[in-house]
């Protein structure tokens, strides 16, 4: 990537002390809403891709194996990029972070295999398949939060419960289709309900904090 290409966007660098990203040019901290918007913009593109290739699959234009490969390539890149983003850059992708990411990818590969078999067995309508495919995109941000929360621990937070899940993980009634984010405060990690309709799971998580990350 050349300097000219990079200048079209904003170069960012990780501030360990503040546990957040800041602009290289000004040192200004990038607020959580902007981070979340960035994650979501990528998720929308992935979701559109998943929708399109699933439509192509059901139109008998794409073999199911090719569909699986296309889905997997995008899932892996999306989750890896989100993990790097959440960790604070490549330099923070420790062997432990890589192991966590690989474990998450193994789960996703298994889910995708089950999904493909359900499709081949005629168990999933095209509408449900497109919706289910898009959920893989929504879930990618959980890899961001998985790494973001890891360092948020220590003796001063030992009295707090461990954050049981992350936004986008899919294990709340909204299936990760929410606008929730996490914030780090002096009191610990807060599950933030941003303006949206919220499921009971997210409401409970917001009320259950603050948390520690690990």
């Amino acid at each position: 990537m050349s300097f000219d290409e990079v200048s079209l966007g904003f170069q960012i660098t990780w501030n360990e002390e503040q546990h957040g990203w800041q602009l290289v040019s000004t040192g200004a901290t990038i607020a959580t809403p902007a981070i979340h918007a960035e994650i979501r913009s990528h998720a929308v593109l992935s979701g559109n891709l998943f929708n399109d290739i699933t439509t192509s699959l059901y139109a008998a234009e794409t073999p199911v194996a090719a569909w699986q490969n296309a889905m997997w390539a995008e899932i892996k890149e999306g989750r890896t990029a989100n993990a790097i983003f959440g960790a604070g850059g490549v330099g923070n992708m420790s062997p432990e972070a890589i192991a966590r990411l690989n474990a998450r990818l193994a789960e996703e590969a298994g889910h995708l295999a089950n999904f493909a078999q359900d499709i081949a067995d005629g168990k999933v309508s095209v509408l449900k398949a497109r919706d289910r495919a898009r959920q893989y995109a929504q879930g990618m941000e959980s890899s961001y939060w998985d790494e973001w929360k890891q360092p948020l621990t220590g003796p001063e937070l030992d009295h707090l419960p461990i954050l049981p899940t992350t936004p986008g993980n899919g294990d709340t009634p909204c299936h990760g289709n929410c606008q929730c984010t996490l914030l780090f405060t002096d009191a610990g990690i807060i599950w933030k309900l941003n303006p949206a309709s919220h499921c009971t799971g997210c409401i409970s998580l917001a009320a259950g904090g603050p948390y520690r990350g690990s």
Partner: protein
Amino acid sequence: MSDDAQQEDDNLVIIGDPIDPDEFQVSLTVTPDSITDAIDWWDERAGDLYIGALEWNA
């Protein structure tokens, strides 16, 4: 499900058979190339924040 949607599903043909994850063209685990590819994937798509900074954690 509406009659049209049901008819649409009844006419569906899925080509080929599913493959196992270990047959995927892209590896299941993260490699150094995966890291590079992921950064390029992020930075070359629409978005305003580039994680492919020239100085990591400067």
